[in-house]
Amino acid sequence: MMAADQSAYAYLAAYPEIAANLPGSESAWLQQFRTEGLSVFEAHGFPNLRDEEWRYTNLSLLNKTLFTPTASQEVAAEWLNAFRLENAYSVVLINGHFSAGLSQLSELPAEVAVHSVAEILRDNPQRLQNHLGQAVGNAEHSLLAFNSAWFADGVMIDVAANYQLSKPLQILHVVTSAEALAATRNIWVLQAGAEAEIIETYIGSESSYFSAAVNECFLAANAGLTVYKLQADADKSCHFGGTYVKQARDSRFAHHNFAFGALLARSDIHSDLDVASECQLNGLYLGSNRQHIDNHTRINHLKPHAISREFYKGVLDNRARGVFQGRVVVVEDAQHTDSEMNNRNLLLSTDAEVDTKPQLEIYADDVKCSHGVTVGQLEEKSVFYLQSRGVDAEAARNILTFAFANEMVDKVDNAELKAMLLEQLLARFPAISL
């Protein structure tokens, strides 16, 4: 097969040597899975602007550097600890590999199983086989295929039926090596009635790398999962993070996406909704300088009576570019769907840009669906009002921008995480603290 994109050759040429070191090489089904991914990637290369779902996001940056996996586990502990939540179990992935030494799982209750993917492949591959690739079906694109072929590790989480995890579980995706590829595949399973909160933190101590994580989530009937994603990757890095969810009936999924970092970032959040399930997607993207931040969400209402609420806000400064694609599909069978989508953007500079594309596809006739989009600037009358009260113009602009963005941080229930997010927000928009 010919690669559509010449640049992919470098990755393809490097693959055989990399594959030899990937976990699961003795497992035929996994080899088959990886080979299928590789052949899709071979045929398409990385997604490009001709792909409808990628038309606003140019991935040529990935072709300029050959990002390669590394076994390095080096990390500056003090730097890392600044991103740790105290009141949480934690999993640390260094350069895409699970670190038993840095993870804090010793007090984990028996009802919650957390293992590295490499470990599962060694001890209980059937558990992985039951889920791998099962949640990404409708979302297939060649970056996912790339992840299938290249993933080196990941975290598998299994929460027992009717068990409520009392503390959140933080997953720290850490890259510490220049030009590294950190590709992980993560499988999260919540049995019926289980409840959990997962906090994903993406950071890097080197500036240029490629972090590519794919999460497949399975929520059984009446399960509840809240995911907070803090993407604070380094300033020259590329980030891809996809979260694909299968929601069984009456399940509840909430995702809060804070996209602050990286030079080029793309998030996919896709969920399939069964009867009377609920899906809430919140997001805040902050772009400055030449950052490009793309958020791609898809909610598939497949059965009746499900509820979805989506609210994304973006603040873009300098020459930054933001993308919001929100697609809601309501199939014929999904009567009584209740869906709302909202995307609001604040442009702080004349060179900043946002492409926003809400899409409603409704094939059922008795549904309640709405969507709204705004793109605007700070209102001069608001700036003047604050000035007339003694606040200088720059501080006034920061206060107003902070207030706009803070609405999303305010929705975070976890106090420790909220404080961390506020700190990051204030660093970007130094409003007067109170």
Partner: protein, 249 residues
Amino acid sequence: MLSIKNLHVSINDKPILKGLTLDINPGEVHAIMGPNGAGKSTLSHVLSGKPGYEVTAGSVSYNGKDLLEMAPEIRAREGVFLAFQYPVEIPGVSNIYLLKAALNAMRKHQGLPEVDAMDFLTIVKSKVKLLQMDEKFLYRAVNEGFSGGEKKRNEILQAAVLEPNLCILDETDSGLDIDALRIVSDGVNSLRSAERSFLMITHYQRLLDYIKPDVVHVLADGKIVKSGGPELALELEEKGYSWLEGQAA
């Protein structure tokens, strides 16, 4: 305190104020009345530094300083307060945040330390009571979802906390029912002192029943065409403005 001399102001090259002269001494309450389009709001905006107005001639001296040279925030810190005709809604910024930011900006300008958090709350709560507001208003976003009357009360609350030297009230009475008007007027009257001056801009005489002015001016076609005592307001109420507009020409 405030001395406006021969002030000419244009918006997009269209002259609005055409030689306005006005002097206000400390402790005085001046009312400016006039028909729509006379330039009343332009005057309040120019004094507070709102962008978009071009001063083509004249001067404004405030406590001996050139007011027009100052940025809007400096005017505020120097003690000029504008109660807006249409107060702006600021989602996401609480009233108490704005009050504290404003008070501390003013204190810093005056070389004073930031206000102590407990003292601040005591001050603010006493002013809230004065304006018969619910303390919950402090924690709501500035003016967001407030009724017209609540917005106007909130403006006077800010004045009460910031204690300005010159308080400009731009159509503070418009849109108020009689109860709200009484509360707002009581608030304003409680702020009157021998040092503090007021410039009230109003379309209606009834505000002057509640806040007694020392001097009433009539603004027509960009100039003050007549000045007098409180009785002038009653005369205007009776006769309207048309008999004065001829004098401006």
